[in-house]
């Protein structure tokens, strides 16, 4: 019997555990990842020659990071692992990749997409200035490059990453000028019922907040960010505090974000159906095993933000689903165990959404002159104009008319906010304006990319 060709995109927590489940069933997948080393975002490995121990790089998650890395190393002899390789299209049963300018078409029998997530961004005046980064970006600088993004950094937005990254930067000896959270303390209390589902994770979050207090870091909750200030680069942040007072804090860098947003472009090209999550995101529809479309599966944060532990479980579940669909016997007990743990995490995540609600209304109230699409330099006002005067009621139609979301990033960064702006301008629900469509290549290819 010739062996089925199985391709996994992504070597983060989900992709590694999917590969492991397949190898345990005697299957040998191809694993594609754009990054130079396995680990994904949370367990991202620094380049060769870096000296900080796992404890310093990953904090409380060090043991998990080391387990995941070790699991992947053990699998390596059984995998066709292709790092530094971008997957940029799925079409007619093939995955298209690009590595060092060489393009390859990989026909697959089964495809598992474990593409993860990026920061959920809401633009504001000044956010394109040099010195303004995402929270995740500030963490990448520290973890994978040993750098702080500035001398005095203001962290703002909301979500667990806000506190985690501020804590990591402070622990590394750089100055956290302030932490400004759009959520309120009482949101956390309301969330307790959900958060206790995974008490250890909740306690870690509380520790990062306590650490801020111990370091006497200025910390405000219930804020509304107004602008990143500066002429040629970041010089400060203006915000309204919970009492309605406008304040400014001087800094030379900002890192901001409002939770995460799944990377769904490949899933879309693979034929996924999407469902609106009720809170601004469109998520690919998968069954509990991760089946997304014929012969295509998906797992991890790319299907909806549930965090790294859930990504490991979902990856394993999808790997087992592929094995089962290829006729291997998978013990039902194994599946039941995974599902039990996933449902506890789902309850916890629901709690996080309550504790750190995304302030979706921020986008709708942005001044017209604010840059919305940083690729194309298109403003909030330009989108409002086509919404009101050209009768563009659907996001792709509006994009064609004003170029918002048309740039190199395909609306990954501005799409979330653009839909909010358009919906508000039209007086309709966010769901009604639809979803920015993905196109191949999902990320830019080098001009000289060629077939071998």
């Amino acid at each position: 019997m010739s062996e089925a060709r199985i391709v996994i995109v992504g070597a983060g927590p989900a992709g590694v555990r999917a590969a492991e489940a397949l190898v345990n069933h005697g299957l040998a997948p191809i694993v594609i990842d754009e990054a130079p080393a396995a680990g994904g975002q949370i367990y991202r490995r620094p380049p060769a020659g870096f000296a900080r121990p796992a404890r310093v790089l990953y904090g409380f998650e060090a043991a998990k990071a080391q387990r995941l890395h070790a699991a992947f190393e053990a699998l390596r002899p059984r995998l066709d692992y292709r790092p530094d390789t971008l997957a940029w299209n799925v079409s007619e049963g093939s995955l298209w990749t690009q590595r060092s300018g060489t393009i390859e078409r990989i026909p697959f029998d089964r495809l598992i997409l474990c593409t993860g997530a990026m920061d959920r961004v809401i633009p504001l005046p000044g956010w394109t200035l040099p010195g303004a980064f995402t929270l995740g970006g500030a963490q990448v600088a520290l973890k994978a490059q040993g750098c702080a993004v500035g001398r005095r950094t203001v962290f703002f937005g909301t979500g667990p990453l806000l506190y985690l990254v501020a804590h990591q930067i402070a622990a590394a000896g750089a100055t956290v000028a302030a932490v400004l959270d759009t959520s309120r303390a009482r949101d956390s209390w309301h969330a307790l019922a959900g958060l206790v589902a995974v008490p250890t994770t909740a306690l870690k979050g509380a520790w990062y907040q306590l650490d801020l207090v111990l370091r006497r870091t200025p910390w405000h909750r219930g804020i509304r960010p107004l602008a990143v200030m500066g002429r040629d680069r970041v010089e400060g942040v203006r915000f309204r505090d919970a009492n309605g007072t406008e304040r400014e804090i001087a800094c030379d860098a900002v890192a901001f974000g409002y939770g995460l947003k799944p990377e769904t472009q490949l899933a879309e090209l693979a034929g996924a159906a999407f469902a609106y999550d009720g809170a601004g995101l469109w998520l690919p529809r998968v069954d509990p095993a991760g089946r997304l479309a014929p012969n295509v599966y998906a797992a991890g944060d790319g299907c909806g933000i549930l965090g790294a532990d859930a990504a490991e479980l979902a990856g394993r579940r999808a790997g087992l689903a592929v094995a089962a669909d290829l006729g291997r016997t998978v013990p039902p007990r194994e599946i039941a165990g995974i599902e039990r743990r996933r449902s506890a995490i789902r309850a916890f995540r629901a709690g996080l959404e309550v504790a750190f609600p995304t302030p979706t209304e921020l986008a709708a109230t942005l001044p017209d002159a604010t840059i919305l699409c940083r690729c194309e330099g298109a403003t909030v006002g330009a989108l409002r104009t086509v919404a009101n005067h050209k009768d563009a009621g659907e996001i792709n139609q509006a994009k064609a008319l004003c170029r918002v979301g048309m740039g190199r990033c395909q609306g990954r960064v501005c799409g979330f906010a653009a839909c909010q702006v358009l919906a508000a301008a039209r007086g309709v629900s966010v769901e009604a304006v639809g979803r920015l469509r993905a196109q191949a290549p999902v990320k830019p290819l080098p001009l000289a990319a060629r077939l071998p």
Binding site: F133, A174, P444
Partner: protein, 93 residues
């Protein structure tokens, strides 16, 4: 050149790598990305095509495409996912 944006807070002991930024030599270290080197040297990757002002990257994870930079050989590269190499020469203006 403008004051550096980034501050190296760890992993200082690595082999030097000599690159050229806008015609001037800059010493990075092995394992730096081109974006890191540019932001340790100054605060710009390029001038935005569709204005206004300079850009200096945003996501650092290959998602936002804000950090594409011109190389002296006429090609372009995404700075946050490109490791520095001896002799690499970039133009940010």
């Amino acid at each position: 050149m403008a004051d550096p944006q980034f501050v190296r807070v760890a992993e200082r002991h690595r082999a030097p790598v000599a690159i050229v930024i806008d015609g001037r030599p800059f010493q990075a270290v092995a394992g730096d990305t081109l974006l890191t080197a540019l932001l340790l040297a100054g605060a710009r990757v390029r001038v935005a095509e569709f204005g206004p002002g300079d850009r200096a990257g945003f996501c650092l994870m290959g998602a936002c495409q804000d950090c594409w930079v011109n190389l002296a050989d006429g090609t372009r590269t995404r700075a946050c996912t490109t490791p520095v190499a001896d002799g690499l020469s970039v133009l940010t203006a």
